[in-house]
Amino acid sequence: MGGFLLRKAGAALVVVFLSSVVVFIGVRALPGDPALALGAENRDPAVLAAIRQAYGLDQPLPVQYVKWASRALRGDLGLDARQLPVGHTIITRIPITLELALLAVLIGVVIGILAGVIAAVRRGKLSDHAATTSALVGLSVPHFWLGLMMIIVFAVDLRWLPASGYVSFHEHPLSNLEHLLMPALVLGTGLSAVLMRQTRSAMLSSLTADYVRTARAKGLSERSVIAKHALRNSLITVTTVVGLQLGALISGAVITEQIFVIPGFGRLTLEAVNERDYTLLQGVVLVAATGYVVVNLLVDVVYSLLNPRIRVSGSNTP
């Protein structure tokens, strides 16, 4: 177990290191001189040169990388173009996206698993068709469009919910939920479609498995067979799927935050790209990549605890 963990953690470290290099080079591959962004309406070549010097942009790339990376290792992601600490900015933005993602996962899991179980138990019946068709529809609908439609219906026409913006929870809890309801629904329904499909097929295979048959033979009620045996085993698959959907969730958050104007992590990313704010963009992408690797590592570990066979094979695919 220890060796397995060490190997996984080592691999994760390598991935984080490579990611930091990719981020660093990628950011510099963006067209558009950041000195021009910093100089704004001032484009005197002498001023631009001074700006480059002040921000260390005139140094060789490896030097710039080592400076940035060694500071980042100590937890200092540098100052952005507004002269504000990048780390602090990221820390204030992440909870917003996390709250959104959490609500979305909640909605996705409840709808997805419920629909999946019902569809599997009533296989071939009407409710199965209804659930599978809605899942297919859910997979085909562009979610940002769904967001626009919700704004038209609930914000513009009915005036029930605010069209956009964000209020923090401690400032006004109810208003916070009002602002996040539509975005979370948009993000969550996308997840629920994937989850519904996975739950259904996992349930179908476990419903025909031997131990479920045995449980039935022992005379257990159908309800407890489903709840205690089939569902519990299917949940392993479902946990993995939620973990794997993390990337999709982050991607979804970027555009959802853009449509509903939520000042979260995703919007921060787009702002950094648009403003050519190198330090900010590097910090944002590094944190995103590291977070993703760490979560994947956790999923691997949890999964190997649940299913010891994985450890032996040592496969990269969870």
Binding site: L36, V47, Q83, S164
Partner: protein, 533 residues
């Protein structure tokens, strides 16, 4: 068939559930208490359209940043409602020596910075020296003719210039005139993270992408005039949510209402809509001589527009500025053909007798295209932004030019990338705006003089250079008016830039608040505002 009906019912049920949930939330919303009204005290929340950049006047560059500075960083000079320059921290307008190389500025007495330290000539010297020498200073080029600063006594600052520079006083009425606390500068921390100047309000905190808070200063010399306890600048980049927040009472002042929301807000009885024709402009920079890059030797580029002045005139005549304003901006901007805005006292004298076509003249344009001798002329128009409004502007221009036989292709480009290409000279025409300066020099010199650092057009005209340099040195309004009129004639005929309109900004202010002022510079002046009782 039966199946699909059930599916529909299933979907409908889902929608009903969502509806019920939202209804419950919406019903609970009605219980929010309304803000109480007080004469002194209270917090004013302003919804800003963009995020300010660094709150250090040395490197600050954004328009919205200037709005925040207004409350906490006073300047040597300020503007009044007619855009005249008036003393603020200075006691009077500068005394200029005969050779125009020495500016003596008397300072007001008994003023303290917001950290309690005294404001004096030494602080002026420290600040201006910083503007001139700080690595990456954006102020440097605005006041570069200053060669040294003296502080003979606590209330006198003397600026020595290397060459006459008439826009200097105007520059000192903007960020270059903001005086920073030497103690705060010496503390070693980042000034932008804790700025200290003289001002009615002092900096409290800032959360990137969210808000900036300033609170009433106990040290301010005129604190009797200050009513509000604090001002919160909320960053709300989405225009619809800004308007929504204003109507919901979450903010009291809305920075720049988007054109589609203006009619709605004008009907709202709880809100006043103010407008300000800005001193900036939106135009098209035509690449005439920028072959090798900005400030590299200019020579005529090989494009249809650069080759023929007839074609440039035709290009301009094809543009229906009134229709552009109607279609793209809901008719809310100020169509015009000149770099100086009609709100400026310099506008009338400098544009006298020059024709501006607010409507297209398609027939004449077609004739001029023919006269240019260029068959099927084409232009690539680079847009300095990828937002829908800029894209709309590009497409409207495209279709107007098509009507006279000029084929325009449109390239929307991210702003910084577009600046790069503009400076490199790899463009035909570039749609870009200028935020505007009070002194006419700031809207003209950099763009069309051979040595101008914003001359992306690569325009070079010896006569124009002579006139513009003369205008910089000349100090009387009358002689400068004459010179700018002559300059305008050359620009208008040669068309290194085609000016389209002056942006008009609309601001929403709740009626509960009084004393919020908007001048022609488009800044929100809320430092002396308060809640009406």
């Amino acid at each position: 068939m039966r199946g699909s009906f059930k599916r529909f019912a299933f979907l409908a049920l889902g929608l009903v559930l969502v509806g019920a949930l939202t209804a419950a939330v919406a019903a609970a919303r009605g219980t929010k208490s309304s803000a109480s009204k007080i004469r002194n005290g209270g917090t004013l929340t302003i919804g800003l359209a963009e995020e300010p950049d660094a709150l250090d006047p040395t490197i600050a560059r954004t328009f919205v940043g200037r709005i925040v500075f207004l409350a906490m960083c006073e300047k040597l000079y300020d503007l009044d409602s007619h855009l005249n320059i008036v003393p603020q921290l200075a006691a009077a307008l500068p005394q200029v020596s005969k050779d125009k190389l020495t500016y003596t500025i008397k300072l007001r007495k008994g003023i303290k910075f917001n950290d309690g330290t005294p404001f004096n000539a030494a602080a002026v010297k420290t600040t201006i020296d910083r503007y001139l020498t700080f690595k990456g200073s954006v102020r440097k080029s605005e006041i570069s003719p200053i060669s040294s600063v003296d502080a003979p006594n606590a209330t006198t600052a003397v600026l020595h210039l290397s060459a006459p520079y008439s826009p200097l006083t105007a520059q000192l009425a903007d960020r270059a005139g903001m005086i920073l606390s030497p103690k705060a500068l010496a503390s070693g921390g980042s000034f932008a993270q804790n700025p200290v100047c003289v001002g009615p309000f002092s900096f409290k905190d800032r959360v990137a992408g969210d808000h900036i808070t300033v609170v009433k200063s106990p040290f301010y010399y005129g604190k009797a005039k200050v009513h509000l306890a604090s001002i919160v600048y909320r960053i709300m980049t989405d225009p619809s949510s800004r308007t929504q927040a204003l109507r919901a009472g979450d903010i009291q002042v809305e920075d720049r209402i988007q054109s589609t929301d203006v009619p709605t807000l004008q009907k709202d009885k709880s809100v006043t809509v103010s407008k300000a024709i800005t001193i900036g402009y939106q135009g098209l920079t035509l690449n005439l001589g920028n072959k090798n890059g900005l400030l590299k030797p200019y020579s005529t580029v090989d494009t249809d527009l650069a080759r023929s002045q007839f074609l440039r005139t035709a290009f301009d005549l094809a543009l229906d500025r009134t229709t552009i304003n109607k279609v793209v901006f809901g008719g809310l901007n100020q169509p015009d053909c000149f770099p100086i805005a009609p709100v400026s006292p310099w506008y009338k004298p400098s544009t006298k007798g020059l024709k501006c076509n607010l409507h297209a003249n398609v027939d004449l344009a077609k004739k001029l295209v023919k006269a240019s001798g260029i068959s099927s002329p084409s232009v690539n128009l680079m847009l300095g932004g990828t937002d829908p409004v800029t894209a709309r502007l590009g497409q409207v221009i495209q279709s107007m030019e098509a009507a006279v036989g000029i084929k325009v292709s449109v390239t929307p480009t991210q702003f910084t990338t577009a600046l790069n290409r503009a400076d490199a000279g790899t463009f035909d025409a570039f749609a870009i705006g200028w935020s505007g300066r009070v002194d006419p020099d700031g809207n003209i010199y950099g763009f069309v003089s051979t040595k101008g650092t914003l001359n992306d057009s690569g325009f070079t005209n010896a006569k124009l250079d002579y006139i513009l340099n003369g205008a910089r040195k000349s100090l009387t309004t009358k002689s400068r008016n004459t010179l700018y009129h002559a300059a305008m004639q050359i620009i208008h005929a040669q068309r290194p830039l085609i000016y389209l309109y002056h942006p008009v900004n609309y601001y929403g202010i709740t009626k509960k608040v009084t004393g919020v002022q908007i001048f022609g510079d488009g800044l929100i002046r809320a430092q002396f505002a308060g809640y009406a009782s």
